[in-house]
Amino acid sequence: MHRITGDKSFWGLVVLTLLAAGVFSYFAYSPPDALEHSLEHYAAKDASQQEQGEPVQPGAAETQATETKEEGYAGALPDYSVPGVEKPFLSGGAAGIIGIAATFAVIAGAGLLLQSRAKKRKEREGDGQRTRTSSTA
């Protein structure tokens, strides 16, 4: 098995990941995503019409959805930006790079841990079998 880190296409993917998180993310389409949009626009409308038989005031649904959103925990890098960094391009880009680095670290760390635990489990099972066979011999 060849070392993957010696592979040109591996590094191509590294560069693509860095560009996507650090640069292209700045050009992402910013309106609310499909779930947020649906939450805002279809909130309580169906139900209140069915239950009360009268239309809700326009905007009521939006206010409700925005309020619930603002209650939430924002995180250390809220909305994919670094607090205190003025330029949106740098702030968003840095947040993206931190995000991919954290993701890589967590997955690789968990991966190494799980891999070694699986190996130990296999060894223990092997030992168990050997002890059993030797004791019967």
């Binding site: 993957i4 880190t5 592979d7 296409s9 591996f10 191509g12 993917l13 590294v14 990941t17 860095l18 996507a20 998180a21 292209f24 993310s25 992402a28 389409y29 910013s30 309106p31 609310p32 995503d33 499909a34 779930l35 949009h37 649906s38 939450l39 279809y42 909130a43 309580a44 409308k45 169906d46 139900a47 069915q50 619930t68 959103k69 209650e71 939430g72 925990y73 924002a74 995180g75 890098l77 809220p78 909305d79 994919y80 947040a95 993206g96 995000g99 991919i100 954290a102 993701t103 890589f104 967590v106 997955i107 690789a108 968990a110 991966g111 190494l112 799980l114 891999q115 699986a118 190996k119």
Partner: protein
């Protein structure tokens, strides 16, 4: 597709968190064995790549954006257990560090995006990949996105007075984003196949 806090009721998010915890535990144990045949740097890189792709929101209609999920891509490349592990890491980091998706809703979001979406995509990919190495990736990706969106919509409807219109809007918008994601997934899978970065793609190996 990240559900924020304040939307789901406790009766909905708490059981989902418990189910996700157990499912991720099972996946982690199975991933340990699978990882022996994989390159850990590549698994970490693909996870980071999906995180980056998730930042790239694109328009699905005027004033509505969406981003790819990525569970289908990871499932096609590494199989379901490693994919669930990677997606769980991504969704958890998004919630804890970036405030993307709620904390109470984390279990529900892991269930939708890391487990449901990934398993649905993988089941379809596995069933079709021998006969249709490319089309199976497309169909699996769209199915995965729709499965995740259906889950998210269902948990919202169980918690709040939302109805058929909300459900319909969720399916329609995610049909569009699923189609976009299918193209992206196929392009990346073909890149990995031709670059020989993945030694075999699960059941699609003979056709790769």
């Amino acid at each position: 597709m990240h559900i924020p806090d304040g939307v789901l009721k406790g009766e909905v998010w708490a059981p989902l968190a418990a189910v996700s915890l157990v499912a991720v535990g099972i996946a982690a144990r199975s991933a340990g064995k699978k990882l022996e045949g994989e390159s850990i740097p590549l698994v970490g890189l693909m996870g980071a790549f999906v995180f980056a792709l998730q930042m790239l929101n694109f328009p699905v209609a005027a004033g509505i954006s969406d981003h790819i999920v990525g569970g289908a891509l990871l499932a096609v490349v590494f199989g379901p257990s490693i994919a669930i592990l990677c997606m769980t890491a991504i969704v958890t980091i998004q919630a804890l560090v970036f405030g993307d998706g709620g904390i109470a809703a984390l279990g529900a979001n892991v269930f939708n995006m890391a487990i449901l979406s990934t398993l649905a995509a993988y089941a379809i990919y596995r069933a079709l990949s021998k006969a249709l190495p490319k089309a199976s990736v497309v169909v699996a990706t769209i199915a995965g996105v729709l499965a995740g969106a259906t889950g998210a919509a269902l948990w919202v409807i169980l918690s709040q007075p939302y109805g058929v219109k909300f459900f319909g809007a969720m399916i329609l918008t995610h049909l569009v984003s699923g189609a976009v994601e299918a193209v992206v997934t196929l392009a990346v899978v073909q890149y990995l196949r031709t670059a020989n970065l993945i030694r075999k793609i699960e059941t699609g190996a003979s056709n790769a």
